[in-house]
């Protein structure tokens, strides 16, 4: 490293990015994971992942076993969904989605028979000797998606890692969101499974080493993981400072490897792949036990709850059932959030199912969601300091408010990771990240319309060409027929003439 490089690095350091919100992780993080009993009804959406929705292969009235495939992946970026318990399918249709819009989503309604009988499971014997493709196939068939919340199909990511020749596999155990502690509990209680998953993923991706990043506010998890990783070659536990959003893949990559993923590039492009620790555990279960992803560990937290804690929940369980099992509400929550308080989605009602990417359900009391009235921007620059990717949130917001979305894009709107640090630190309570989410959606909508216009133009062109061709063919056919008729007439005339000459006076 040259001297100038050093100087610039020193100059550029300044205040660290990110924020330190109140953690609120205790007491939920101190109670062991409890398993939720099988609920009577489960609602399993087809689309619980990024990409195309899965296609159902079952019919109403069909009896299914736990782990049976209900819908198969459709297209390259997709994932199947499985029955979370044994029972009967009583409906396939729209239900309210676990999404702030409150729109509908297609889902399978499963009535549990309370027996919870597994399908005969097929594990891979000696997976480390098997081809990486076999492991990836098994992961794909198990319907595993990124359990940190991004819900990107895990097998696609494994294949991507293999193709682009990654060197480092990073397991994300930072869990930087306040309130959540499911990854913490998972690492404390099932450290062996996580490490086993990491080894399997290393084999599937061909990575050389595995680094597991854990924030320094989880000392018990660090101890447990270190113990489990002892003696496993090339798997190291890296302690990272507790700071939000350390769990964002780009930030964790910088912290652990010093590499910054360029804008518009993926982590795999710089030889790194990031997976969540929960995903690693699920991959271990899929490969060593043959179990598809039918349940996950998640946090139930918030001041409105009687008994916060971590639960192993079947996918498709209604949030209301989960809360009732945990001991119910202390008082009506001001807001129900799926995920963490910083990036989570507000739920329209408690009558929505838990999906694969749901890391927690927060029932926040009025004091916890207290929100100031937005005031004018005082240009203090707090948001600029907090932004982990070095954007200018106040400038982007000014442009979005003035309707100049292109101006915001020029300032790097597409590099915004939507972490919400800017809105969190804003002393004027300006809803910055909300504005960016809106602008991103608006830009995506415009892109869709442009695409549609483009498609229409192609179709219109094809039609014009077809009409011209048809007209030409018609004209040609008409000309041909006319020529034939003419020739026929000429022939007739020619053959008629001698006849006429022979039999004169006979009617023609």
């Amino acid at each position: 490293m040259g001297i100038f490089d050093k100087i610039f690095r020193q100059l550029g350091r300044g205040e660290p990015w990110g924020v330190h919100p109140d953690e609120h992780k205790r007491p939920a993080s101190e109670a062991p994971i409890r398993t939720l009993p099988v609920p009577p009804l489960l609602y399993i959406p087809f689309s619980q992942h990024v990409g195309a929705a899965a296609e159902p292969i079952v019919h109403v009235g069909q009896k299914v076993l736990k782990g049976e495939c209900l819908a198969v992946a459709k297209g390259t970026i997709s994932a199947p969904v499985h029955a979370s318990t044994s029972g009967e399918i009583i409906a396939i249709g729209p239900i309210t989605a676990p999404h702030p819009s409150g729109l509908e989503i297609m889902a399978i309604t499963l009535r549990s028979d309370m027996e919870d009988r597994w399908l005969p499971l097929e594990a891979i014997v000696d997976p480390l000797a098997a081809a990486p493709e076999v492991l990836a196939r098994q992961v794909a068939d198990a319907g595993i998606v990124g359990l940190g919340g991004a819900t990107f199909p895990a097998s696609v990511k494994l294949g991507l890692g293999r193709r682009s020749g990654i060197k480092t596999l990073i397991l994300n155990g930072s869990e930087c969101e306040p309130y959540l502690s499911c990854d913490d509990r998972l690492m404390r209680e099932r450290a062996d499974g996580v490490i086993r998953g990491a080894v399997l993923m290393r084999h599937a991706t061909g990575a050389r080493e595995v680094r597991i990043g854990i924030e320094d506010n989880k000392p018990e998890a660090i101890v447990a993981m270190r113990a489990a990783a002892a003696g496993v070659a090339d798997v190291s536990i890296c302690v990272v400072p507790a700071r939000y959003p350390m769990g964002s893949d780009r930030q964790l990559i910088i912290e652990l490897t010093g590499i910054e993923v360029p804008a518009e590039a993926r982590a795999a492009d710089v030889g790194v792949l990031v997976h969540n620790v929960g995903t690693a555990h699920a991959i271990h279960q899929a490969i060593d036990l043959g179990r598809p992803l039918v349940s996950r560990v998640m946090t139930l937290n918030g001041a409105a709850l009687r008994q916060p804690g971590n639960y192993e929940v079947l996918i498709g369980t209604v949030v209301d059932d989960l809360i009732a099992f945990s001991g119910g509400m202390r008082n009506t929550p001001a807001r129900l959030v799926m995920g963490g308080p910083m990036m989570g989605q507000v739920l329209p009602s408690p009558l929505v199912p838990v999906v694969k990417g749901c890391s927690g359900i927060l029932a926040l009391s009025a004091e916890e969601v207290a929100q100031g009235e937005p005031g004018p921007c005082i240009r203090c620059g707090s948001c600029t300091k907090a932004c982990p990717v070095g954007l200018l949130p106040l400038e982007m917001n000014a442009r979005i408010a003035a309707g100049a979305l292109d101006g915001a894009v020029g300032l790097g709107l597409h590099d915004c990771i939507g972490c919400g640090c800017c809105a969190y630190v804003c002393p004027s309570h300006i809803p910055l990240v909300q504005a960016f989410n809106h602008a991103k959606g608006e830009l995506a909508a415009q892109a869709r319309i442009r695409q549609r216009n483009e498609a229409t133009r192609k179709l219109a062109q094809a039609r014009t060409e077809r009409l011209e061709r048809e007209a030409r063919e018609k004209a040609e056919a008409a000309a041909r027929r006319a020529a034939e008729r003419k020739a026929q007439k000429a022939r007739d005339a020619a053959s008629a003439a001698p006849e006429q000459a022979n039999s004169e006076g006979a009617p023609a």
Partner: protein, 175 residues
């Protein structure tokens, strides 16, 4: 007096000749801007703007006889693209953009006359004689040219349904 008249006349003649030569030398064939704007338009020639086809609308927009917002199928996105290309400032809040629309066939009154099929500029309607027609969502751009052709009023425009895939966060009222 005479000198003044002569010198002014000479000046005028010389400058006029120069300009005449220049206009010949720098003549622009057609208007490249019109062609560029036309390439932005949907190209379905649906005629909702009131001009003969997309080429006509493009020329009218460039010449200032029409607003960039005159194309209903193109919507806000097109208006913005055109305005950006022409350097016009646009007040989008006044644009009555009902969002993307789709044609829908009311199956119970469709008589299968095939008239709409012939009028569709993007071949988005399927069906045969005496068969109920249907609209291909992916191909329809909501240009409405089929609507007046339908003898029974079975075709209508409906906004594209909002799904989780195309839902957009509402704008927080902020500044």
């Amino acid at each position: 007096m005479l000198i003044a008249v002569i010198s002014l006349t000479t000046l005028g003649v010389v400058l006029g000749t120069l300009l005449g030569l220049a206009s010949r030398h720098f003549r622009v064939e057609g208007n490249p801007v019109v062609a560029e704007v036309e390439s932005l338009m949907p190209g379905s020639n649906c005629g909702q703007c009131g001009f003969p086809g997309c080429a006509g609308a493009a020329a009218a927009i460039v010449n200032g006889n029409a607003q960039p917002t005159c194309c209903p199928p193109g919507g806000k996105a097109l208006a913005q693209a055109v305005a950006a290309r022409l350097g016009l400032s646009l007040d989008l809040s006044t644009v009555a953009d009902a969002g993307p629309q789709l044609a829908m066939v009311a199956e119970e009154i469709c008589i299968g006359c095939c008239r709409c099929i012939k009028s569709c500029p993007s071949d988005a309607i399927l069906g045969g004689a005496k068969q109920i027609h249907n609209v291909l969502r992916e191909a329809c751009n909501g240009c409405a040219s089929c609507i007046e052709r339908c003898p029974t009023g079975a075709i209508g425009l409906k906004p594209v349904p909002v799904t989780l895939q195309n839902w957009v966060w509402p704008n927080p009222t902020s500044a």
